[in-house]
């Protein structure tokens, strides 16, 4: 099978869905690059190159460079979705979502409910998350937990290229607004990805690694951190099960609870937030529904409750690492 990076897998998904369905359009800042100018069209292909080449095949009516107005991108996408298109809106950094909360939280997420099920909102918002790019506090956050808490939004965060393609295709075919979070440090991560189209259903966790002593639930890039930690722990004779929920809304509670029932110990590795983040959410779930199988406290490995530092050593210390996960497991087993 062909090895593809997450960047290539996402481009594959967009291209195949745009070929399959003429209603699928893309809009966002520099998704082509060069619109309205005198230079090269498709100069940019998206800030991280994911949409490269699409304007050449599908034209400027379906790959739309927008002005730098996040609220207008989201509002236009929500309206287009309500009238029958399947827009994929790109917002370079999740950090900028603040200025379009009304369009996302209060409009797109609520249309189906407020109109008594008489309308659908098949829109996808692609955005980037994560620290480690030396881009300071305003371009490094991992805010998927905020969107997860809003009913009406589906939240997806792939950790590998196979999942990235299948989940994005599922997102585009879904009739509700889906927020698709891409970790900036994972774009070049590659694995076997079929050339054919396929969709991965939401709400089905991936058991990345089977084990029987500890359950680690991790999201997006943290899945790789957890796997690295699991390898170290395996050399110490500790068998770790790593679960990647893939989507936080809907959430595959069953796979998590069944795993904890088997292992009796839970560690959650989450880059989102130290307070009110996904780690707290999963800890709450297991504390309530899996309490009787727990043999020790639930360990939450998150960044500290601070903005992402600009200082490189501090930024590195901010992001959960395999070493902090291993230390957390040791704490739990003591």
């Amino acid at each position: 099978m062909t090895q593809k990076t997450i960047r290539e897998a996402l481009n594959d998904a967009l291209r195949q869905e745009m070929r399959r369905d003429n209603n699928v359009i893309i809009l966002g800042e520099d998704v082509a690059g060069g619109h309205g100018g005198t230079g090269v069209i498709d100069a940019y292909g998206g800030p991280l190159g994911v949409t490269k080449g699409l304007i050449g095949e599908f034209g400027a009516n379906r790959v739309i460079d927008t002005p730098i107005t996040e609220s207008a991108i989201m509002g236009a996408a929500a309206g287009a979705a309500a009238t029958g298109l399947r827009p994929i809106a790109e917002l370079m950094f999740v950090d900028f979502m603040g200025v379009c909360f009304d369009q996302i939280f209060n409009q797109a997420a609520k249309f189906r409910y407020m109109f008594g099920g008489k309308t659908r909102t098949p829109m996808v918002i692609r955005t980037t998350i994560g620290a480690g790019m030396r881009t300071a506090a305003q371009h490094s956050q991992c805010l998927y937990h905020m969107f997860t808490s809003v009913p009406g939004l589906k939240c997806v965060m792939p950790s590998n290229a196979y999942d990235a393609k299948g989940l994005l295709i599922e997102a585009i075919r879904d009739d509700d607004p889906v927020i698709f979070f891409e970790n900036k440090l994972l774009y070049d991560h590659a694995c076997d990805v079929p050339d054919e189209s396929y969709a991965i259903p939401f709400g089905e966790a991936n058991v990345v690694r089977e084990g029987h002593d500890i359950t680690i639930v991790a999201f997006s890039r943290m899945v790789h951190i957890a796997e690295e930690a699991a390898k170290t722990l395996a050399s110490e004779g500790i068998s770790v099960e790593v679960i990647d929920p893939r989507t936080t809304s809907p959430l595959d509670e069953e796979t998590i609870l069944e795993s904890v029932e088997k292992t009796g110990r839970l560690v959650v590795v989450d880059e989102s937030a130290a307070r009110c983040g996904m780690a707290a959410d999963i800890a709450g779930l297991v504390a309530e529904k899996g309490f009787s199988s727990l043999k020790g406290p639930i360990i939450q490995i998150t960044p500290p409750h601070t903005p992402v530092p600009f200082s490189p050593p501090l930024e590195d210390a901010f992001i959960p690492s395999a070493a902090t996960v291993v230390a957390g497991v040791h704490r739990l087993l003591k």
Binding site: Y198, V207, T255
Partner: protein, 381 residues
Amino acid sequence: MTIKAITVPKWGLSMDEGELIEWHISPGDEINIGQEIAEIETSKIAGAVEAAVSGKVRRLIAEEGEMLPVGALMAVLADDTQNDEAIDAFIATFKVEDPDDPALETAGMPNILSAKLGDMDISYLETMPHEPANIPDNGQKSGEIPVILIHGYGGDCNNWLFNQGKLGETHRVIALDLPGHGRSTKYVKDGSVKGLARVVDGFLDRLAIEKAHLIGHSMGAAIALQCALNDPRRVTSLSLICPALVGRPVNSDYITNFMQARTRKQLKPVLQQLFSDEKLVTADLIDDVLKYKRLDGVDEALKVIADAGLTTEQSAFNDNEIAGLRMPVSIIWGENDKIISGTGAHILTGKNIRSHQVKDSGHMPHMENAGAVNEILMENL
């Protein structure tokens, strides 16, 4: 006698390492080619290692529980004329061949190829025999007739991972992916056994194969049988592993549940029905099947085939026609088959027909007890 190495085999395209579960031999034992000497587990499946060389076991290098790369030295064979120093020197200088080395690709290493049949692409895995002398020039000479492997419902060419290598030692072997399966086009026009047999016939035409040994599993066995009835002169021998539609009913719950399974949890018990030993269904095996089922068009393809009579008919063949087949026919049943079971198949008698029952296996004897099945298959070629 020279010093000989026993190395970790490569099963299927994706295997790069395996864990030694158990040795079945000890230093001092005399072993024969084909003897099962160890159990190795990969992330996909566990299987028996068969000795590719014979001789006296002098040293077991690999330890039980050890994870070994493909090609790693497992054991050393030599007679008593070789002293311990010579054995030590052999071990010290042994080099693991890089399985990705392009120089090795031509001999024995499978190639993924594709044949165009109208609007359909039929993908296949082809191996050429190790001995250059055995490579057929026209595919027609005795002993140089290719072997065609036809998988069952929901399967693919990788189901033959324990068989293709063995058969490939002496023959050109082609494991195809039926329409709707593996890497082939997912669109199935006619899902009946007759329709799929026409595809196989067209595939053989396309590859200019005039005569072939056909080996089929389950639905693939029914397809192979249909091909033999369509054109008996083309089929030199016929081996049918757990054949569908020849008298024993297909477990229709299995087909329905296989079609409907969406998650790992739903799929696991379904796949476990295939094997006598349920432990063979690993997380990776389930993942591979899920990845296949998620592909666009697979749901429809599986439905078209299932609806075309796979579960409704008990037998799709005419007794007299089968009894009249002239080529050697070998039928292999798994002892604990939960998919196609019962004592039917009364029609499968005839002068050239031999039946075998394979122990310790369910519906996948060619995976579960590959050694025994390979022997039967080789005999029939």
